[in-house]
């Protein structure tokens, strides 16, 4: 998919290939996360999400191609000065308190001592952990750890946040809290790359997505545009049928509607007619057919394909 060259890119991968052992984990990946994006990075287990993130964070060097973060080569240590991250392993120190964990990273990032205290307090409050600031991290639940990891990722005010499955293995309440923190961060104008299995989470938070499967980017672009463009869409027609006779007429019409080339499925639910159309479906033709049979149309609602459907279609389509 084409990029808007006028927008600066927080992350850019150009033809990145990564081979580990005999396996090609990433196959010539091109990807760009624009400044201000909340970018969802999706894919099944073993698709290459974590490897991509490791390349972006300079942990792995690509066999070919280039990775850039905030305009600098990802292999350059200085490139990560304004990058925050939450990895699969939270990387917290169990024998240190929440405050000390954040203070350690403040010192690593060179946050001045005069500002560090305030920053740590602000971040711990954002993560709703301020009342536990002096507790050792070993006493924290998984959800609290993830919130603390997010607070740590933000403590040096990064411009870019890279989150690798931040809600994995967290209970539903913890997931909601972590998601809320991510939304708060997004509202602060941070660029976020969110790798996740949770499609609902990505659908709620992200404006752009990429879907990786077997090391290749299968889908990439604005989420809303993809939902509009991708494959079939649902149309719900509220008919004016009242009598059993009319319902029978409508049932009789179902076979005719299903025979239309752009209708993939069709069913009646009481007065409603639910149709799945492909991208080029023509609703006016269907309305005309209904009118011809003497069935009135009261309302037409167009549904959009969900991210879950897009995901299923792309990942299964490749198999």
């Amino acid at each position: 998919m084409k990029q808007d060259d006028n927008l600066a890119e927080a992350i850019k991968l150009e033809g990145v290939t990564k081979i580990l052992g005999n396996r090609q984990i990433l196959k010539d990946i091109d990807l760009a996360v624009k400044i201000g994006d909340i970018f969802g990075y999706l894919g099944p287990n073993g698709a290459g999400k974590t490897t991509t993130i490791r390349v972006i964070l300079g942990l792995l060097s690509p066999n070919s191609g280039k990775a850039y973060i905030l305009g600098k080569d990802a292999q350059d240590d200085a490139a990560r000065e304004k990058v925050g991250f939450v990895l699969e392993a939270d990387g917290l120190y169990d024998n240190l308190t929440a405050y000390e964990n954040l203070d350690y990273y403040c010192q690593i990032y060179g946050v001045p001592q005069s500002q560090a205290k305030e920053r740590i307090k602000e971040m711990l409050q954002l993560a709703d952990l301020w009342d536990r600031e002096s507790d050792k991290v070993s006493t924290y639940s998984k959800g609290m750890r993830q919130k603390l990891a997010l607070a740590r990722a933000m403590v040096h005010e990064p411009n870019l946040l890279i989150l690798d499955e931040p809600t994995a293995a967290v209970d539903p309440t913890g997931q909601m809290e972590v998601r809320q923190i991510i939304l708060n961060l997004a509202q602060r104008g941070k660029t976020i790359l969110l790798s996740s299995h949770n499609l609902d989470e990505v659908q709620r938070i992200c404006n752009r997505i990429a879907l990786i499967d077997k090391g290749e980017i299968e889908l990439y672009g604005e989420l809303e545009a993809l939902r509009r463009e991708m494959g079939r869409r649902e149309v719900v027609i509220e008919t004016g049928i009242t009598a059993t006779e009319q319902a029978q007429k409508l049932d009789g019409l179902l076979a005719e509607l299903e025979a239309l080339p752009y209708v993939t499925s069709c069913r009646r639910e009481a007065q409603q007619l639910r149709l799945q159309l492909d991208g080029h479906g023509d609703v006016s033709e269907i309305v005309a057919m209904l009118s011809h049979k003497g069935i009135g149309v009261e309302e037409i609602t167009k549904g959009e394909v969900s991210l879950e459907e897009i995901y299923a279609k792309v990942t299964k389509g490749g198999e």
Binding site: G58, R80, F85, G91, D94
Partner: protein, 250 residues
């Protein structure tokens, strides 16, 4: 250098909060007491054999030198193994090292910080316990019989203050390099214990042959340090972020 200090301070803080570290102190005190008791018997035997005070002193001094040299090396290497558990082993096992590698810190800063976090407490504690042991042996076994302290000679003191810490620093760096790039931490720990034993036993024959009062032992120790340094330099070239990440659990 400031960032290196940050890593070192955090590792020290973690180490000082562990029970295992204080457990190691208990072991060291036990070893010291056992060693002092054994040495006390040797000193008694020397006092019985020799006639003049000067002869007794000159016979005891090499004994003190051998004890202090061996003790310092053994204690420093032992503390090295303990402090390393939190400076690196836990970082590797819990994969917090990955997070550290994602910061703007360079690999060199991380390795140096970790090496110093292992080296400094090991040397400080090793020296404290060694000189504490020497003073204790003097206080309980020598002073009551001779009326004065007998300290190790110049050569063992130079070895204890300079050469042994140098060996320990190189050993700490070697240990960290190995642990960073090899997946099976248990194998490495076993190999490192083997290396500690090899260093101890490797230095024992020359110590016994030349005596710790001899400067030869200083040069032999320097040779050991140089050999370890060569291995460490070779290993350091293999340490890359990619190797560290791929050899981490998970």
């Amino acid at each position: 250098m400031r960032k290196v200090t940050v890593i070192m301070k955090k590792d020290l803080r973690e180490t000082l909060r562990t029970k295992a570290f204080y457990g190691s102190m208990g072991i060291v005190i036990f070893v010291l007491v056992a060693l002092a008791a054994g040495l006390g018997r040797n000193i008694d035997a020397v006092i019985e054999q020799e006639t003049s005070l000067a002869e007794i002193t000159s016979a005891i001094q090499p004994l003190m030198g051998t004890t202090a040299f061996t003790l310092s090396l053994m204690l420093m290497l032992l503390f090295c193994m303990y402090t390393n558990a939190y400076a690196l082993t836990m970082e590797k096992v819990k994969r917090s090292i990955e997070s550290l590698l994602c910061t703007p810190l360079s690999l060199r800063q991380i390795c140096l910080g970790k090496s110093l976090a292992v080296f400094l407490p090991s040397v400080i504690l090793g020296l404290l316990f060694t000189f504490g042991g020497v003073v204790g042996i003097n206080q309980f076994f020598i002073l009551p019989k001779l009326g004065h302290f007998v300290m190790p000679g110049a050569a063992p003191i130079v070895a204890i203050l300079i050469i042994v810490p140098l060996i320990v620093f190189i050993f700490a760096s070697l240990m960290i390099a190995l642990q960073l790039i090899i997946t099976n931490i248990h194998w490495i720990n076993a190999a490192l214990i083997g290396l500690v034993v090899a260093i101890m036993f490797g230095l024992s024959p020359p110590v016994l042959e030349f005596g710790p009062a001899s400067w030869s032992i200083v040069f032999i120790s320097l040779g050991v340090a140089a050999a370890l340094a060569l291995v460490t330099i070779y290993l350091a070239r293999l340490v890359t972020k990619e190797r560290i990440v791929l050899s981490s659990k998970g």
